[in-house]
């Protein structure tokens, strides 16, 4: 029985179940954790327990949190302190199966660890049903699959260059969904050759042969991942989502409620403005509409708008001779309001907990008070008509809005021509919103791709129509929008839309003309919103934003190793569950973000010693911070940007962008301009390595004296020492009190700058103390050898403080220039050492 339960657990451990408040006493499994709502313990009372599940030859349950809980919750089981066993009345599995479980304490040395000793299946299935996971080998072969599918998807379902893998495929959420998809679209270019009966049969085979054991593979794989504790996860979440350190109340929340508290804190972070800055970056990496931001031209977005449609688009310009001082700022703000419209739509949908499908179905567009004037909207809908950052949804009569699909910026970023006929736009739609690479299904191209013999190659040449039968109906849907992104219904044009092209449709179904002729993108938006590939596409983009890499691609190569296949199955299976949570919560993107961040892939800090490293080659969410993220991190830690010395900091007070990471080093450090540079660098090169060192050196010079110069209550770095705290007393001996303060501060800096806790005296700590002391001793020797010359006792000139942050000269008493004991420069050395660390530059 134990063996059976252990096996069953292996099927479950990655399951994403939320605590079911209606059955508060029932224990559940989620994200590799077992949650037990209430167990009464002598001397402690009613406690909520959370166990982390680990796999080392057998499944072990490590107690993570034990927090006081309400007596109104009924008991989940009992703890027997005579034999140190824990009986849990009901553990609910994803399948709905319930087990009564007994756990025995196996270790309480440092960690409290239980193993599984007994279990009883409380709701066993019908004895006639087959409980063993299916596999290709024991599923009867399908002639239909062999005939119609295996050429592209391979006999074992792992896919080929012509067709994607069918393991954990986008449409595999249910037999009916998969069958409908097959009936409507497969085989490519011959969709009518597989009716619903055929589709049902193939769908059943695909699910049974290639997907039945996914959960088992996934749970086994995830069991090898060691997770960040809640505090470390909190720090990572705060940096990633809102670019700051966690607050005290957030630490308090996780100390009280553990992982549940972390969920709450993440929810809270997603209400902050900084989160929406990050969200815009994540989506712009794909949409690339920031090409039209004023950084790439003062009116880069405005010039795309038709003067015929928007005669007031340059409303802010009173004429060359009448422009005032604010002209440039207003012009830039107006341009950026127009440029950011699609990204602001995403922000609006998320901020208001709307279904994320609205990014493609919204019957409105986002406007600021400035862009509203450009678009000719005069209704007073803004709280502050002078705030260019206040965005509101506006429905205009002139355009049948369909969210991003009808955004001028999107349509211009992906323009079309009379020969391209919107196919480029359609390809992007498939890629971004359906996670489908149209080019990947083209298969073998004809020897000469210019077919001049077939009357309409895209329809009549099977090699062409294989792709074009999928692409062209969507391309035709864009027919009411011209190459400049202007709304110009094709039926009103002189020649109409092309007749030698597939008519409007999606997934093999033609678009009903009634009610959709002039608003066909609205119809397309609704189709995509209902397509199971949409949540998968959104997940792909958000996973990239949160982990630095896209989900693993299906191993289409027939030579893919078993480790590669298992890695894909494990991650894909978990992400399918994340997607399910997203969809079930009304397509609320916050749910998707939260569940990704609670997943073991995001929280991975290591692997157990017996893990298959090949299957975890890409496990984890550490990635090189983008220049924008690094910029925010620096500001959050020091309270200022990396730009000039603190004495010259005031000179950039009014600059739009002053940080070196936003200007000088932005491109070198892998940033994108959304125009010619559209992909971020994810591995540092020699220039980036040099920039990191320069940044660490400069910032230590700016931050250390500045922090000492600030009033004690405002210091961020030096809480236990001041700039005169020397390890030596006047007799030249170690001062134990000062030394203790110095040690505390070194320890604090490790945690503050790197998020790592080092014990005083530990090897890692000792390196920093040695660096501090060696610098101090060597510096004193330098001063001594130089006869105490004034320039040797002073800080480097860029590091001293002689002006306030407004540029006013400080009095002699208020200045900080002298460093006769070499204390300040010794701290600079420690900070420069820490700031160049891996943990500083990687999430």
């Amino acid at each position: 029985m134990v063996k059976y339960l252990s096996k069953t657990f292996s099927v479950l451990f990655l399951v994403l179940l939320c605590l079911n408040t209606a059955n508060a006493s029932r224990s559940t499994i989620s994200n590799g954790y077992l949650y037990v709502p209430r167990i009464d313990l002598d001397g402690f009372g009613a406690m909520e327990l959370t166990f982390r599940i680990e796999y080392t030859n057998e499944y072990l349950l490590v107690l993570e949190t034990a927090t006081e809980t309400s007596l109104s919750i009924s008991n989940s089981g009992s703890f027997n302190d005579s034999d140190m066993s824990l009986e849990i009345d009901e553990v609910e599995l994803e399948s709905g199966d319930l087990y009564a479980v007994q756990l025995d304490l196996v270790s309480q040395d440092g960690q409290i660890v239980f193993n599984i000793t007994d279990a009883e299946h409380l709701n066993p299935p019908d004895p006639g049903s087959n409980q063993e996971p299916a596999s290709t080998s024991n599923v009867e072969a399908s002639p239909l699959y062999d005939d119609m599918c295996s050429n592209c998807h391979a006999a074992n379902g792992t896919g080929t260059g012509s067709g994607p893998s069918l393991i954990s495929c986008a449409n595999c959420s249910s037999s009916s969904a998969l069958a409908n998809y097959i009936r409507d679209t497969m085989p490519l270019g011959q969709a009518t050759s597989c009716d619903i009966g055929c589709a049902n049969s193939v769908a059943d085979y695909v699910l049974a042969a290639f997907n039945a054991s996914n959960q088992q593979i996934s749970s086994q794989s995830i069991g090898f991942i060691q997770l960040l504790d809640d505090s470390a996860a909190l720090r990572r979440a705060a940096q990633q989502l809102v670019g700051r350190l966690p607050r005290a109340d957030e630490f308090q929340a996780i100390s009280v409620a553990g992982s549940g508290g972390l969920r709450q804190v993440i929810n809270g972070m997603m209400t902050e403005d900084a989160f929406y800055d990050r969200l815009s970056e994540i989506w712009n990496d794909y949409l690339l509409t920031d090409k039209y931001h004023s950084r790439n031209g003062s009116e880069a977005a405005l010039q795309l708008l038709s003067s015929d449609d928007y005669p007031n688009k340059r409303w802010f310009d009173p004429g060359k001779d009448n422009r005032d001082d604010e002209y440039s700022d207003v012009r830039r703000a107006t341009n950026d309001s127009v440029a950011r419209e699609p990204l602001e739509l995403i922000n609006y949908v998320v901020e208001n907990d709307l279904a994320f499908t609205q990014i493609l179905t919204a019957n409105y567009m986002m406007m600021s008070p400035y862009s509203a004037q450009t678009f000719g909207v005069s209704e007073p809908i803004f709280e502050n008509p002078n705030d260019p950052n206040e965005f509101r949804p506006v429905t205009t009569r002139s355009i049948p809005h369909a969210g991003i699909l009808t955004s001028h910026m999107f349509l211009n970023r992906y323009p079309t021509t009379s020969t391209n006929r919107n196919r480029g736009r359609a390809r992007i739609v498939f890629d971004l919103f359906l996670d489908t690479d149209i080019l990947a299904i083209e298969g073998v191209r004809p020897g000469n791709s210019v077919d001049i013999t077939t009357p309409i190659p895209t329809i009549n040449n099977p090699e062409c129509s294989k792709c074009h039968s999928v692409l062209d109906p969507v391309a035709s849907i864009f027919q009411n929008w011209d190459h400049k992104g202007r709304y110009r219904p094709a039926r009103l044009s002189k020649y109409g839309w092309y007749t030698d092209m597939e008519p409007r449709g999606f997934n093999g179904a033609p678009m009903p003309l009634s009610g959709n002729v002039d608003s066909s993108l609205q119809w397309l938006g609704r189709q995509i919103a209902a397509d199971p590939r949409f949540p998968r596409a959104v997940t792909r983009i958000m996973v990239n934003g949160l982990t630095g890499k896209e989900p693993l691609k299906s191993p289409d190569d027939a030579n893919a190793s078993q480790s590669e296949i298992d890695a894909f199955i494990a991650e894909r299976t978990l992400l399918n569950d994340v997607q399910t949570s997203f969809v079930n919560d009304g397509y609320n993107l916050k749910t998707l973000v939260r569940e990704v961040m609670m997943s073991p892939y995001w929280r991975a800090k290591g692997l157990t010693s017996n893990a298959n490293e090949d299957a975890h080659a890409l496990t984890g969410a550490s990635y090189l911070l983008s220049p924008e993220q690094l910029d925010r991190k620096i500001y959050s830690l020091f309270g200022f940007d990396w730009r000039r010395s603190m004495d010259s900091y005031y000179k950039d007070q009014n600059s739009y962008w002053a940080s070196k990471l936003r200007i000088n080093f932005h491109q070198i450090y892998g940033g994108i301009d959304s125009d010619s540079i559209t992909t971020r660098l994810t591995s540092p090169n020699g220039l980036m390595g040099a920039m990191q060192l320069r940044m660490a050196n400069e910032l230590s010079c700016y931050a250390v004296p500045h922090d000492f110069w600030l009033p004690e209550s405002q210091r961020r770095l030096f809480r236990y020492v001041n700039h005169e705290t020397s390890p030596y007393n006047e007799a030249g001996n170690i001062d134990s009190t000062s030394m203790s303060q110095i040690r505390q501060n070194i320890q604090f800096l490790h945690e503050y700058l790197l998020g790592e806790r080092v014990a005083i005296g530990s090897p890692e700590y000792q390196v920093s103390e040695d660096l501090f002391m060696n610098t101090l001793n060597r510096g004193r020797q330098i001063i001594l050898n130089g006869g105490g010359e004034w320039y040797l006792t002073r800080l480097p000139s860029d590091c001293d403080r002689t002006k306030d942050l407004d540029g006013n000269e400080l009095s002699e008493d208020d200045r900080l220039r002298e460093d006769r004991q070499y204390v300040i420069r010794s701290w600079m050395a420690v900070v420069a050492y820490l700031l160049a660390d891996y943990k500083f530059f990687y999430s």
Binding site: P415, N420, E613, A617, I668, P684, L687, G689, E764, Y833
Partner: protein, 429 residues
């Protein structure tokens, strides 16, 4: 520690097994063979200049192929080009080094033109990928990346990219340059006044102290690498480690750069050649966009071609000034070609057939290989004689890259890892 000393140290200690890039190929000697890819982003129009057709009307009634006169087509040696521009546009300055009448006579002897290369696509992403990697499928490294990986993947600027297709398949870390003046700051990270002479640079830390800081940083990274159990994290730490060692080599680059680095393509050329000359780079992508001339093709394309050819001319001047003409190979290409007819907006749309230009080391110049018919469909060539042959093969980017890889000495490991299934044709030699 200098990079090459560091690599020797790794080799002797066996630590190279943990390094991310292809250290098995890493040389401790400075690279001595260099590669430049010049990308005309957006899809250039070869029939406007190196595969000229002129204004002959098409038989299908779609007007002329081009708007310049057939009689303007001339040659310098074997290189054929139009000596003038369509009459209805503002032509480039007659003294411009990018004017056809100046560029081609000057460079014809070293120039190889390969016409009639079928990219089999008119999609920008796919075309760019195909032309610069030799494979239309995703995930293959650009030629610059694979050349750098084969020769000196751990040099700090092994593969410089100014845009365009620069996928590296994790073989090397691409470096983006930005503005040239930041090099001084990066070459001397401990100097608050890096532009001053050495000794006057006002270091943040005394040299002996900074050496200890640097050592502590590297030791720490090594400890983290050894402690990490996540393969991904370990790889990232190794990459960071490699990006940190040998930064002193940037000093040499700074010394070789012009006092003021030019803008645009010319500036890209200056940095690339200085990086080659200082031995810290192997390959570079030069990139300029604007060739996607769906409207007002003749005027817009003329301007872009002039700028492109001026940049190539400047590049060659830099190469010669640094005495690298026998060690640098230059390949010039684009996503795909443009239609042999005009659209309603006097523009030209996408067309799958293009031409490639090459010059420099390993390239026998004053030659034109391949061709196109009046409809600008690719004509086949005999793979031995390289003459047009209806029974021969149609050139594709695969042929170009098989030949390039042979010239670059790409080893069998890399070739099999990123295989191109096409037979070798001696196009360049």
């Amino acid at each position: 520690m200098y990079r090459r000393q560091f690599l020797k140290y790794l080799g002797s200690s066996g630590l190279s097994l943990a390094m991310p890039f292809s250290l098995s190929n890493a040389q401790s000697a400075a690279p001595d063979r260099f590669w430049i890819s010049v990308n005309a982003g957006g899809g250039w129009d070869p029939i406007y200049f190196i595969d000229p057709k002129g204004d002959r009307p098409r038989l299908d009634g779609r007007g002329p192929v081009n708007n310049y006169s057939v009689s303007a087509i001339t040659s310098s040696g074997n290189i054929v080009f139009p000596s003038s521009y369509p009459t209805q546009i503002d032509p480039p300055d007659a003294n411009s080094t990018g004017h056809f009448a100046n560029f081609f006579p000057k460079h014809a002897n070293r120039l190889l033109v390969i016409n009639g290369v079928d990219t089999q696509t008119n999609n920008h992403d796919a075309g760019s990928r195909y032309v610069w990697s030799g494979k239309i499928e995703d995930g293959y490294p650009s030629f610059g990346a694979i050349a750098a990986a084969a020769s000196a993947p751990t040099e700090p600027l092994a593969y410089i990219s100014n845009g365009g297709y620069d996928n590296t398949a994790s073989l090397v870390a691409p470096a983006r340059i930005g503005e040239g003046e930041v090099f001084q700051q990066l070459a001397f990270p401990n100097a608050s006044r890096p532009w001053e002479e050495q000794g006057e640079q006002s270091p943040y830390f005394d040299d002996s102290i900074y050496a200890e800081i640097e050592k502590a940083r590297l030791d720490r990274l090594n400890r983290l690498v050894n402690a990490s159990t996540l393969p991904l994290q370990k790889q990232q730490m190794n990459e960071l480690l490699m990006s940190r060692v040998g930064d002193n080599n940037l000093n040499r680059l700074v010394q070789l750069l012009p006092e003021r680095v030019s803008s645009g393509l010319e500036g890209q050329a200056e940095v690339a050649v200085a990086a080659f000359s200082s031995g810290i780079a192997v390959s570079a992508n030069m990139h300029m966009g604007g060739f996607d001339t769906h409207g007002n093709h003749d005027q817009n394309h003329s301007r872009r071609l002039t700028e492109l050819l001026e940049g190539i001319d400047h590049l060659w001047t830099q190469i010669e000034q640094n005495d690298l003409q026998d060690r640098v190979t230059v390949i010039v290409g684009s996503d795909f070609g443009r239609t042999p007819f005009y659209n309603d907006g006097n523009g030209k749309d996408h067309w799958n057939v293009i031409s490639i230009m090459a010059m420099g080391a390993g390239v026998r110049g004053n030659r034109v290989i391949g061709g196109t018919n009046d409809h600008v469909e690719a004509l086949s060539i005999n793979p031995q004689s390289l003459q047009l042959d209806p029974n021969g093969v149609t050139l594709t980017p695969e042929h170009i890259h098989v030949a390039l890889r042979r010239m670059a000495g790409i080893d069998s490991n890399l070739n099999s890892q990123f295989g191109i299934a096409e037979s070798y044709i001696n196009l360049f030699g």
